[in-house]
Symmetry: C2
């Protein structure tokens, strides 16, 4: 690996000059520029990012903190963030907080120690101390906070839509999954659905659930044991919806005739389920991209039109809900 010294020697100039043409800063003669650039090419010189970072106190790295990389929703977010960052010549250190605050703190530490220029975090603890007094900006993704800029899906309306669509299609005894109590996004969609349910003439049960794979299956089994008469489920995310769909078919219910199911997120696999899952779509990829853009704006001191960006969600009608009569 050649250094700036080698380039300077090769081009017959000083390292200062090389640095200047490298960064397009200060003056430098066209001819000198040319010679330097030739030397760079010849030696295949790439600046040492670590040395740069040490001096500038800024790397080209952005920290991305995910709560659970196994939930397909998050890789989708990550892709959006990554693609946008890549276009800006930036790179990602991805940390998987695994829903554990200690891990989260550790990763933030690492991000700091590596001079990241910013953090995008999709974890559940936006209001906790590790995010305070940071010397670089933090953007929350898929989380609502007032303390920080953020990008998130319109959970309240999503929940409302889910309830509206399932009621409209004739479910009368609905199970409403609540999702983790500490998760604002889960609670938003829950509240939306709750409000809609309260305003209509249907019975419903509220059931606590987690967002993880392992819990989803167990929850599905107990759900049907405890409430065998339900004819509609509003799930807290697609993972739970998949588990419920699966269990419903296993015990011989017909979908969507006996039971309608509606998910949340629209992860890529939802349309590969059978029957394909009706769900509330969050534009995960775009949310990731927006968060990256927002972070870049903050870093570059560009004016912010809005600090908290709410993304619209849409009902995706597939086949776990019944067709609605045309003349509703």
């Amino acid at each position: 690996m050649s250094t700036i010294r080698d380039v300077a020697k090769e081009a017959g100039v000083s390292v200062a000059t090389v640095s200047r043409v490298l960064n397009n800063k200060g003056y430098s003669h066209e001819d000198t520029k040319k010679r330097v650039n030739e030397a760079i090419k010849k030696l295949k010189y790439k600046p040492n990012e670590v040395a740069r970072s040490l001096f500038n106190k800024k790397s080209r790295l952005v920290g991305l903190l995910l709560p659970d990389i196994r939930n397909p929703f998050f890789p989708e977010l990550a892709r959006g963030v990554e693609d946008e960052m890549q276009e800006q010549g930036l790179h990602l250190i991805i940390g998987n907080a695994d829903e554990k605050p200690e891990k989260e703190i550790e990763y933030i530490q690492t991000f700091k120690q590596n001079n990241v220029i910013g953090i995008i975090s999709a974890t559940n603890h936006a209001e906790t101390t590790p995010y305070k007094n940071l010397s670089f900006p933090v953007v929350f993704l898929d989380r609502t906070t007032n303390s920080h800029p953020s990008v998130y899906g319109d959970g309240y309306n999503g929940g409302k839509k889910a309830a509206y669509e399932i009621i409209r299609r004739g479910s009368k005894r609905i199970a409403l999954l609540r999702g983790p109590a500490e998760l604002m996004t889960a609670q938003d969609r829950f509240k939306g659905a709750l409000d809609e349910l309260c305003n209509s003439n249907v019975d419903f049960h509220v059931i606590s659930s987690s967002f993880s794979f392992d819990d989803a299956e167990k929850m599905a089994i107990t759900l049907f044991e405890n409430y065998p008469d339900i004819d509609g489920v509003i799930a807290s995310n697609d993972l739970s919806a998949a588990a419920i769909l699966h269990e419903a078919l296993r015990i011989g219910r017909s979908i969507p005739n006996d039971i309608q199911i509606i998910g949340y997120d629209d992860i890529p696999l939802s349309r590969l389920l059978f029957p394909p899952l009706s769900t509330i779509r969050q534009p995960a990829y775009d949310m990731g991209r927006e968060a990256a853009k927002l972070l870049m704006k903050i870093i570059n001191n560009k004016p912010l039109l809005q600090k908290n960006i709410q993304m619209p969600v849409t009902f995706i009608e597939r086949q776990t809900t019944r067709k609605v009569e045309e003349n509703d």
Copy 2:
């Protein structure tokens, strides 16, 4: 952010001493150690990893290159790698090569420029130049190479098993999906299945397929159009299996009575499909962990028992294959 100087001043010693107790190198008096450690705590000092890295030419970062973060198999690998690294106090820069060689090269560049201590790569281009002449070790994951250390599933036997189990359960006209031709792992499992099919009295068709979401669905549709009489499908991975399962049910085939389907990978969602997918399980999480361990051994110059670690695969019997008669 306090520096080593601040700590030295606080403890009334030199920076050299602080560095020594920090790294447990060279001599230092117990009392001095204590004082230094107190100063560290008091100032909440964390060493600047960038400065360390500049001097040592080694960071605490490991590059992880994934071909497609959206395929749930890879996050699973990533988790294994991450958990092992985390226990070693190391962190990951994750790059998503997106099956594009340019992106791959760019990420390797970034890894270099950030002084990673090693790379774990799950991409398809192990034999290409970017991996040559690197100053740090590379371990390939989910890829067979002789040029580098690697950890991979036993694809040949996996394919063989898949064919064996489906034939044993009575399929007579089988579609064998081939997976991407350039992907060694895909070809291994293909060859295994092929050999097994050739040694038995069944008809079969070989069909090319990709590993991606988007292609899987189209492929499934044409598959049944072109070969309406098949009664068994050996898929190249679980994603394609899901697409086929889905399409088969859509056109009214009964699973597993009319058609048996067997997948490959055992991604977390496979058991949530309906019917739950029979598949060949690759121990993705463990493979990730093994790859991380292997890399660490190489970095620490520990003796290697084996440079290429093949992990066993197992048949997971779920419900897209028929029950076998007890007295086979």
